[in-house]
């Protein structure tokens, strides 16, 4: 991880001083442990702010839509796939981008770590081969990194960036034989009432803060459907029906575009597993149309195209 940081700083310095880009989008150390924050560096003498470790889960592709300037961006596997989606949706041009590909080892889930620390507050985090060392005021703990990966990272099969101009580390080996849809199948096996209840319990704590929407790189509509008032598609209260409508439509809106980067779940302040909605779409699209999101810039997204013989199980 140290080596990534150095490579990122070195590349940022070079690109900024040669005036190849106007800004570099990366991460800096967060003010709290386990929370690195996105950071925009515009000046070559500020590149030492840039940092990289396993707490860089925020999806940086979120900062790209409609940018007028030339930017370099640090991109993990999922970020790079979201960049491809942006390119397909004409949100930014390839010429504006210089992609610093960061082969990813999976990001860690701070919630699980904090839960297992039982209230002790880590002030500093260090990573050394496969271990996460947490240092607090009067304790020190070392945890196995693999055991605390974010759920979507544990089942990720595209850890290497799919599109890049330069790599900041060696390509990693992709995970093989991963069962990506075990939880979706578990829900599919239930009867309708159970399924309804399952999702009802899932979204019960929702406070409708829209953090999942704002963290999502795909949510760039000028006016979101939740903010539309004429007609008003969904109420703004935390009424159960409104919350359900919101989660349903949000999930449907990212169908065929979601890369399962986990930004939504990571951002949720009450820990709702919102990926339960989007993963069903991902599974169906893969099974029905054989499409995986963000892997190449030549193929249109699945809902923007059709084949004459598409399956139509529900049509009379």
């Amino acid at each position: 991880m140290r080596s990534y940081t150095e490579k990122i700083r070195e590349a940022a310095k070079r690109l900024l001083s040669e005036n190849r880009v106007d800004a570099v989008i990366g991460f800096r150390r967060g003010t709290v442990a386990l929370m690195n924050e996105p950071c925009l560096v515009k000046n070559a003498d500020q590149v030492d702010r840039l940092y990289w470790d396993s707490n860089c889960g925020v999806n940086l592709a979120n900062y790209l839509p409609k940018r007028p300037d030339r930017v370099a961006i640090v991109a993990k596997g999922c970020d790079s796939r979201n960049i491809v989606v942006h390119l397909l949706e004409n949100q930014i041009k390839r010429e504006q981008l210089y992609i610093l590909g960061a082969p990813c080892h999976g990001m860690i889930d701070r919630r699980r770590i904090l839960a297992d620390l039982h209230g002790k507050e880590p002030l500093e985090v260090e990573e050394t081969d496969g271990r996460v060392r947490l240092i607090g005021r009067d304790f020190e703990e070392s945890l196995d990194r693999e055991a605390y990966l974010q759920e979507n990272c544990a089942i990720c099969v595209h850890r290497n960036p799919v599109i890049y101009d330069e790599l900041v580390g060696e390509l990693v080996e992709e995970q093989q034989n991963v069962d990506r849809y075990e939880d979706v199948r578990r829900v599919e096996a239930m009867i309708p009432e159970e399924r309804w209840l399952h999702f009802e319990q899932l979204i019960a704590p929702c406070i409708r803060c829209y953090a999942c929407r704002n963290a999502c790189p795909l949510c760039y509509c000028p006016t979101c459907f939740v903010d539309e008032s004429r007609p008003q598609w969904v109420g703004k209260s935390i009424d159960r029906t409104d919350t359900r409508t919101f989660h349903f439509l949000r999930a449907y809106h990212v169908a065929g575009r979601c890369t399962d980067c986990g930004a939504c779940e990571r951002a949720c302040p009450v820990g709702i597993k919102v990926r339960q909605f989007t993963k069903k779409m991902e599974k169906d699209i893969k099974e029905l149309y054989g499409y995986e999101v963000g892997l190449n810039t030549d193929e249109r997204p699945p809902l923007d195209t059709y084949r004459p013989g598409d399956p139509e199980p529900s049509f009379k």
């Binding site: 599919e188 004459p308 139509e312 529900s314």
Partner: protein
Amino acid sequence: MTDWEPKIVAFLCNWCSYGGADLAGVSRLQYPANIRIIRVPCSGRVNPKFILAAFRQGADGVWVSGCHPGDCHYIEGNLYARRKFTLLNNLLEHTGIEPGRLHFSWISSAEATKFAETARKVVDAVKAAGPAQHFIKKQAEVA
């Protein structure tokens, strides 16, 4: 509950299914009166939000019908619609809506009998599913 009759919103495409419904009427074909028709330019015009909105406002069933694949007045509108609604239907059922509430069909403007037949099937299926509750707002629970 015995005299309950379902309310069904039908989005029919102007060029085919609406014509089919018209022909069914002109031909004096009998079909249940539970459907409220909304004429849309194309089945591809129907936004998933419309369907959710219909359920939220008390529809017990929704039926979307358009031209047969390949016969779309706009060449390909119904082919996009096909993908869109297949996914929508899957996600709705995955999240717990009973099967039988949401219906799709291809009916050309000459298929009056198919229209009447499908209308009967849709009404029967929605009747079997019973009054829709899931997307209707209930009184707020006061803690």
